[in-house]
Symmetry: C2
Subunit: 346 residues, 2 copies
């Protein structure tokens, strides 16, 4: 096991000073053509690569972006990561990913850890527990320390930072409107509790869509579940109970899993999808694509969100010190992908 090559070692080996080596490698005119060539040849031969840690310390820049997300076994988040990764790579940044597991303490720990020199800035989506606790000190503190933060998807308004959102309200409205256009009139929604911003907004879009068709919103047709990304036994039971015996011709859900379960439940009750009841859901993953029947979805374009978030962050990082602080909120368009769970438009 040979020790990693450093400037110092090269200097000793070639009997010149460290500064000379450094300058030669960076093609400084101060160094004679001869010495320069000699040093470069040596460095190349032994595959010298500068130590990133030393550079980070010196430059007080790591060229690393930290992403903190609630979950990684999750299609949407992985697409976002992919987007961030792409953009980061294009701008010569690295990416560190940390998982909060929807746990407040872990989120705080992760931020503290990464904030102590490991990254130049953050991209994050809040843990469920953080949203419930309504405690964002770890965020404001990090921002106060001059570390740029970009929030996406699960954000809170009061934090002063860039944000990337999809227009959940508009997306939901589009989804529900698709149900309305294909003839549905008795439409239920399966959503999350209101502390999850996205759930709340999607519920709002649902209501707006109905109202624009002059349909009264029936609270009995709204099911709020205390789950964000998972659909455990409890949820399944609630969905079944909710749908049982209800007179519906359309169901809108805020994620794929709820939709798949709803679809199963409806078929259990003898309903045909989409002939008796149509289904539209948010989030476009493999599940929607490969389920039977495949699901009509409102696609979130996670990759685009990731790219946008990274772009905003990198802008902040490379902006000259003096520039005025200013926060952007970017919206990513959703789009409707019609599949088998809804009837054809006439």
């Amino acid at each position: 096991m040979k020790r990693k090559l450093t400037l110092k070692l090269i200097a000793k080996e070639l009997d010149v000073s460290i500064s000379t080596v450094s300058k030669a490698l960076r093609d400084s005119a101060e160094i004679s053509e001869d010495t320069r060539q000699k040093i470069k040849a040596f460095a190349k031969l032994y595959n010298y690569k500068p130590n990133n840690i030393a550079l980070s310390l010196k430059n007080r820049k790591t060229r690393t972006i930290g992403i903190i997300i609630p979950q990684i076994v999750h299609h949407f988040f992985t697409t976002v990561i992919r987007g961030v990764e792409q953009m980061a790579r294009e701008h010569n940044y690295n990416v560190i990913i940390c998982l909060s597991n929807n746990d407040f303490d872990k989120e705080v720990l992760n931020m503290e850890l990464l904030a102590n020199g490991s990254t130049d800035g953050f991209i994050l989506s809040l843990a469920k527990e953080t949203l419930q606790k309504d405690d964002f000190r770890h965020l404001t503190e990090t921002i106060d320390q001059g570390m740029p933060v970009v929030m996406f998807d699960r954000v809170v308004d009061e934090i002063p930072c860039d944000k990337v959102l999809i227009d959940d309200r508009e997306g939901a409205k589009m989804g529900v409107t698709h149900l309305l256009k294909t003839g549905c009139r008795k439409i239920a929604i399966i959503t999350t509790e209101d502390y999850v911003t996205v759930g709340k907004l999607r519920t709002k879009g649902y209501i707006e869509a109905l109202e624009s068709y002059d349909i009264k919103v029936d609270p009995d047709n709204i099911l709020k579940l205390d789950s964000i990304d998972r659909c455990d036994q409890g949820c399944v039971a609630k969905i079944k109970h909710f749908l049982k015996g209800k007179d519906l011709d359309g169901v809108f859900t805020v994620n794929e899993l709820f939709a798949v379960e709803a679809s199963k439940a409806l078929r259990t009750f003898g309903h045909n999808v989409p002939d008796d009841v149509s289904i539209v859901c948010f989030s476009d993953g493999d599940l929607s694509k490969y389920a039977t029947p495949s699901l009509t979805t409102v696609s979130q374009h996670g990759e685009q969100m990731g790219r946008k978030a990274a772009e905003l962050l990198i802008n902040k990082l490379e902006r000259p010190e003096e520039e005025e602080e200013e926060y952007t909120t970017a919206y990513i368009e959703t789009s409707l992908i019609a599949r088998e769970s809804t009837k054809k438009l006439k």
Copy 2:
């Protein structure tokens, strides 16, 4: 925007030396109780946290593990990451994730980048292109530099490092045997080209299972696709063409996507799953669980793989310098999850 607090700043503020501050904070007996309290109070008040980069440089340890995987929008890999993350967290390590996108050059670049000080060791699964090219210099070089590497899932034998594998052969054998036990006799396999080790081994398991039932292997019943994680239009067409008009009662596939497409194709051709043709696949993701019919799978336990890989790496990292170099290959057990795509065992 206040500047991050450093030892130097605290020292200046309290009019003591930097060493004194450092020692006080680490509870050194060299510093008087009085000064110690004063310094600690100050540090706490202004929320001092040591700079990780400086520490990494000093200690020549980053306490960071690098993971390089071909893809992140992929259930199996995300479960592995989750496992690595857990184990890393338990041992106070950080995790950096990089994506190779199945691209050789990107894999090399990522490794070089992370090897230059950013991480203490690697966990990786090879890019498809790397396997095809059969060029592993970036790996051997990294290992030569004394950086421990653990490979998982997509490995190559000749690299001297720890490895974590599932017993693909045995897993496939178990899956195919399940088909045999439930009465299937004319079983096809949809697998990958042989340069993908896992595909090759699974094909082997398929053959062994058939042979143990004295069934002759029919080359016409083996479809090798040039795709690892995705199932694009080309694949779908090949699967349809392969299954069309074939007299089969069982299909084994090396991943979920192939199985879902096979299932669809079979239904298109008027076959009922599982009554006419049963299906078993490798990889246990949401798709298998939520497809209709849900799929009987050989579960890979990615999380366990991740944990094991991290454990092996951390062992290497914390082992005393002098200790004998020795490489382990760990196998993770697979298990069969019976669902609706196969008939009940009698």
